[in-house]
Symmetry: C2
Subunit: 310 residues, 2 copies
């Protein structure tokens, strides 16, 4: 009897084979590449690797919706950028405020409340907000083939982590339900926290001060800080993942580095070297030079998203 295919949404071909042969060689007792389970650490970027990221990072949509939701408490936003443009839905006006404006939007919507209150807002948003193009809830814009890969690795004794430039608290609110990844295995960008007693009850307040930008060279830093061991398997999709893949492959023994290449304009989005969101340029060159595994979404994946829930 043939064993059941653990990656049914992946087309047969070189990419699928490279993944499976890596997992087989590090898990087979007696193999020269055998790795004990405690060291089977796999790290995944989130935006563009586990779920979609176009036309802008989904967390940015969350921030825009939060500005609208909180506007009644902030009358000054009506006349102050970038909030004025955000409230008017004026994407051009927002773009004109540049990175400074984006940081202000994120700060205003990601700090000043307790961790519990923030998680409540995120959960409410992910259960109701819908993507402008697909009209799906955002947690149903995860990639079915990658969900299968997460399960396949865990079934083979791997511990799966998210290592993302996205907000750590934002992802932790839903990552366990969607990916089966518990909060302590979700590493992301994060702000400082402050412990306080309010009416005798302890709370943690999110401060408007960055503690870690978990992107580019910040990814190996986040990995060391949180995991304290070098992963043997890493998957990303953009130049922001380049250092994570370098760090992962710099260890001894068998190592796997993968990149999702967004090549499917019909079923998802097609972008790489010129994209402002999820740019894949230098890392694509390095992948070719170092024989990292590049997923051609259009060729390698039978489906993109899981079936929609009724």
């Amino acid at each position: 009897m043939a064993a059941q295919d653990p990656l049914p949404s992946w087309n047969d071909g070189a990419t699928k084979q490279k993944i499976e042969s890596f997992v087989e060689k590090v898990t087979k007792q007696g193999s020269p590449d055998f790795v004990e389970p405690a060291r089977r650490i796999a790290v995944f970027d989130n935006d563009g690797t586990l779920w979609a990221e176009q036309p802008v990072y989904f967390e940015f949509f969350f921030a825009l919706d939060q500005v609208k939701a909180q506007a009644p408490q902030h009358p000054e936003w009506k006349t102050t950028e970038p909030f004025k443009s955000a409230l008017a839905g004026d994407m051009k006006g927002m773009a004109a405020t540049g990175e400074k404006g984006a940081v202000e939007l994120i700060t205003a919507t990601h700090s000043g409340m307790t961790t519990n209150e923030f998680a409540r807002r995120v959960n409410q948003w992910v259960s109701t907000a819908r993507h402008p193009k697909t009209h799906r809830v955002y947690t149903e814009m995860v990639y079915q083939p990658m969900l299968e890969l997460l399960h396949y690795l865990r079934d083979n004794g791997f511990k799966t982590y998210i290592v993302s430039g996205g907000g750590q608290d934002f992802m932790r609110a839903w990552a366990e339900a969607v990916y089966g990844i518990p909060p302590d295995q979700v590493i992301g960008s994060e702000g400082e926290l402050k412990y306080e007693l309010r009416d005798g009850k302890p709370v943690l307040v999110k401060l408007p001060k960055v503690a870690l930008v978990d992107d580019h060279a910040g990814k190996p830093v986040g990995i060391e800080r949180f995991i304290g061991r070098k992963p043997i398997f890493a998957f990303g999709n953009s130049d922001g993942d380049q250092q994570m893949l370098e760090w992962t492959t710099s260890g001894d023994g068998a190592r796997f580095a993968g990149l999702v290449h967004h090549t499917d304009a019909a079923r998802e989005f097609a972008y790489d070297r010129q994209s402002s969101v999820g740019r894949l340029d230098k890392a694509l060159d390095e992948a070719a030079a170092k024989d990292w595994t590049v997923v051609d979404m259009k060729q390698d994946w039978k489906v993109i998203y899981p079936p929609e829930k009724p």
Copy 2:
């Protein structure tokens, strides 16, 4: 047949009973206090809770030994405090440099090298250095009853974490071998890291800049940052653990808060409200007010340390 006692080094009495009855009620299916395994999170302070901390924190002995080992590369230390006193073994002279001097000693010995090089130095030290009073290697000054407690909790589906004011990288070098706690479950004070390529090989360099002081109000912050869930069980021994115990017991359902009270001058050390290392004062009052479990070392523990290895 009676089940084997999971805590053989604990004398029978109220303390042991409180621990066992807590574990029974949160693990028994159908109990009103049942907690699913994913939420059975137990956090332990290290210095004074899992291993001894007198006459000074053992990591400070490490720093002193490092100053001696690195002195040939730093001729200026012969004439500069606090290094001059450290090299002369002049504890009074060092004390005179105050907290500023202590921070300088820690900074000089805990930064400026790669994470790999630092781990190598720690491992070399813990395998050779010996405590001035007991003449044991430091990793054999762990508390046998607490080792049993860690095992007992893990056997009951708990995930055990260290949450310590000590250096995260310092503890991670030996915590798995000594306590069975892997690096990603060791949370401590930590410095910033910098990712670099050296001769084409990526390294992480330890910077002389603090990222988290994991003590007092920093402990709930470290717990939230790393674990992302409120523990249900916490053990400490000093005022530095007070907020961790408050945070742990502030959740719904059954909660356990414990303090090790150092009452055994003959077998270990006796100190509490007046000690400069591991002061237990405010937290001792709060323990009485809130019915936290206080371990009386002299009464509750049959042995202090494990048998010495040959």
